[in-house]
């Protein structure tokens, strides 16, 4: 079998024997800076906007609902099953499909609507990134198939960056089969290095920060 053959070759080449102990790897290197919440919000917004994403900051959950209602304005939308969207009243806005738990139906709906609405488990301000952890509350396709993605994020979920994320979640696989980091709209530069947005994923990303 290739497995044993390859492992055997590796061991022979390295001069190791099966099950031989290993010295500790270099210590983990995580540096979490101190950044005040207002600065995190400002940095998050400037990073997303630098990538041609949009941002909004709203004071309350009701204001978040109003903002999203305005953004939908006659278009069709699907919302993930995130409890936060329900609490904001976004899931019950007219024209919003939600509560879908069957993959075939979710795929069909996401492939048709104009906008996908999600929350995000975290945001990383130093790069303008949304952290999406797959769960019963958040599917993968809502932030992927529709041409526009709106993420509604309460401010306390904004982290400083990757180092803080991996401090909080040393092993994301312990809780999910999929964690996706989204930084701005889908883009390509494969033809003459000309930047084009929205090639396979959403061409528009809007981050709504609540609070």
């Amino acid at each position: 079998m290739s497995r044993d053959n390859i492992l055997h070759k590796v061991r022979t080449a390295l001069g190791r024997s099966a099950g031989q102990a290993v010295a500790d790897p270099p210590p983990v290197r995580l540096r979490v800076p101190e950044i005040a919440m207002e600065d995190r919000i400002a940095l998050m917004r400037s990073r997303v906007e630098a990538l041609a994403g949009k941002t909004a900051r709203v004071p309350t959950m009701e204001a978040a609902r109003e903002f999203v209602a305005g953004a939908i304005a006659g278009k069709t939308a699907v919302a993930s099953n995130a409890p936060y969207l329900v609490e904001c009243g976004i899931s019950s806005l007219p024209g919003v499909r939600t509560g879908i738990r069957e993959v075939g139906e979710l795929t069909a709906v996401c492939a048709q609507v104009d906008i996908g609405i999600t929350s995000a488990d975290y945001a990383l301000c130093d790069t303008g990134t949304l952290v999406m952890i797959a769960s019963p509350a958040e599917g993968r396709l809502v932030s992927l198939l529709p041409p526009a993605h709106i993420a509604v994020v309460p401010r306390e979920r904004i982290l400083t960056g990757l180092d803080e994320l991996f401090t909080i979640l040393p092993d994301p696989a312990a809780q999910t089969s999929s964690m996706v980091l989204i930084t701005g709209p889908s883009q390509t530069a494969d033809i003459e290095q000309i930047l084009i947005r929205g090639v396979h994923g959403p061409g528009q990303v809007t981050v709504v920060i609540v609070g």
């Binding site: 270099p26 790069t127 396709l141 930084t183």
Partner: protein, 472 residues
């Protein structure tokens, strides 16, 4: 240097448009990398490189341990690890799985590892449709070409090339605006995503402690490939393991910066096993193919095993004055540029293309930009030594040896040296004060001809230094 290598280089050098395209594109990538790694932007850049190098060294030195840990953890999440020794192993596995599941259509995201084993061609040969979904790779698949650059695969194609290709292969009206071309591809590929049964991706990192793969991209085609179809297969070289998910904080900061000059890529997918109970979507089956395909041959030599630290960022290509002139298709295998020059001879054997380790000015730029600090120039030198040794074994460099023996003899015998000088002066085209661009036919033979064809010489003076010295 083989005739083929030589010809391809000459073709590239003769193509002015291509020269401009490659030079501009690599120049732009190079500048962007410099901006986002500058001390003012990323103060701990050098520290991150040192850490990345230390982690890679530790993993490669203990590779079997981390492969087994990775395997155990993938399985604990309900995934499966498949070890493959070569191209046939990989295609056999995919074909067999496709057959058992009754699958016909496969969507693929960009993976240099699958290029290495010609996976698409092998699958097509057995009646499976395997569609590349990264825009650049899709263009190349339609054109039946291999990637020109590790990161920017279709860097050599103009919008007009793409327009012609789409018109011919997809039967669409001719469009030359890049936005419109992209939309055409999006439309065609979206349908494939929704119909495909299997998605095949590469993997940038295999994370041992999580049993997860991490994949970075900008388009969203990796996300689609790994989420929409029922089956996800990730194909990666065995050297891609890192110990901990937390190490991603180091590597992710380096990879996108070095590759495209972004702080991070648009999408980073961290995937651990198939969809779990309660999760709304995601694949039902999850496989990781771990490919050897020659990698184990690099392990015995402590110094050269460093080549396996590579995270395929492409920075060394953009920094390389040779790559920027001779382009990606001159290289004899899928990997081009400095990294191609060091891994191709080790994977395929040094005699595959003996000229390769010499296709470098040893300026050191590649080693300087490498985010995992591979000492590429040192490895190139060692490989040059290997080429010479293998040629000596095969008796290939007899002419060169003879030439050097004659040279040494002439140099150590003053009278002979003087005579030789006079002879050369008498047969060389005489000085009208201009450079000598061609030599008489008897001198223009064999290796000497190739050498002289690229070089002009100053005219010989009427009197030699020795004569002037005697008559002073």
């Amino acid at each position: 240097m083989s005739v083929e290598f030589d010809r391809k280089i000459h073709d590239t050098l003769a193509d002015a448009n291509l020269q401009l395209a490659v030079y501009t594109a690599t120049g732009r990538l190079k500048d962007k990398r410099i901006q986002v790694t500058a001390a003012g932007v990323l103060p701990d850049y050098q520290e991150l490189r040192t850490q990345a190098n230390a982690i890679k060294k530790h993993v490669i030195d203990n590779l079997d341990h981390y492969l087994e840990e990775f395997e155990r953890n993938v399985e604990s999440h309900g995934g499966k690890v498949v070890y493959c020794k070569d191209a046939t192993d990989v295609s056999d596995f995919v074909l067999d799985l496709a057959k058992r599941r009754g699958s016909r259509l496969i969507v693929k995201s960009k993976s240099m590892t699958t290029e290495e084993v010609d996976l698409n061609e092998r699958l097509a040969h057995h009646g499976l449709e395997s569609v590349e979904t990264d825009l650049g790779e899709y263009i190349l698949q339609l054109a039946h070409e291999r990637p020109y650059h590790i990161v920017a695969p279709a860097l050599h194609k103009t919008r007009y090339d793409v327009a012609d290709l789409f018109t011919k292969e997809l039967g669409v009206a001719r469009e030359t605006v890049p936005e419109k071309l992209t939309l055409i591809a999006r439309g065609v590929l979206r349908e494939k995503f929704l119909k495909a049964d299997i998605g095949i991706s590469g993997a940038n990192f295999l994370i041992a402690d999580s049993g997860a793969v991490a994949i970075i991209e900008n388009e969203g085609n990796v996300r689609l490939t790994t989420s929409a179809p029922k089956i996800h297969i990730a194909v990666a070289g065995i050297e891609k393991v890192i110990p901990r998910a937390q190490d991603l904080a180091v590597f992710l900061k380096l990879l996108a910066r070095s590759a495209t000059g972004q702080l991070v890529s648009v999408y980073t997918s961290f995937l651990a096993g198939p969809r779990r109970a309660g999760e709304v979507d995601g694949p039902e089956e999850f496989y990781v193919v771990l490919l050897d395909n020659g990698r184990t041959k690099l392990l015995p030599d402590r110094s050269k095993r460093e080549s396996l630290y590579c995270i395929r960022c492409g920075a060394c290509l953009n920094a390389c004055p040779v790559y920027r002139k001779i382009g990606g298709h001159s290289f004899p295998w899928v990997y081009s540029g400095p990294i191609g020059a060091i891994i191709t001879p080790q994977f395929m054997g040094v005699s595959h293309e003996p000229g390769l380790p010499f296709a470098s000015s040893l300026c050191g730029a590649c080693g300087e930009v490498c985010p995992v600090k591979i000492d590429i120039p040192k490895i190139l030198l060692e490989l040059r030594g290997d080429v010479r040794k293998s040629e000596a074994r095969e008796g290939l460099n007899r002419i060169e040896k003879l030439a050097f023996r004659i040279f040494a003899w002439v140099m150590t015998h003053p009278r002979i040296y003087e005579m030789a000088g006079r002879m050369a002066a008498s047969i060389a085209p005489t000085g009208d004060g201009k450079w000598i661009r061609s030599v008489p036919a008897p001198m223009s033979v064999g290796p000497l001809k190739a050498w002289l064809s690229e070089r002009d010489m100053p005219p010989l003076p009427p009197k030699s230094f020795r004569e002037m010295w005697r008559n002073r």
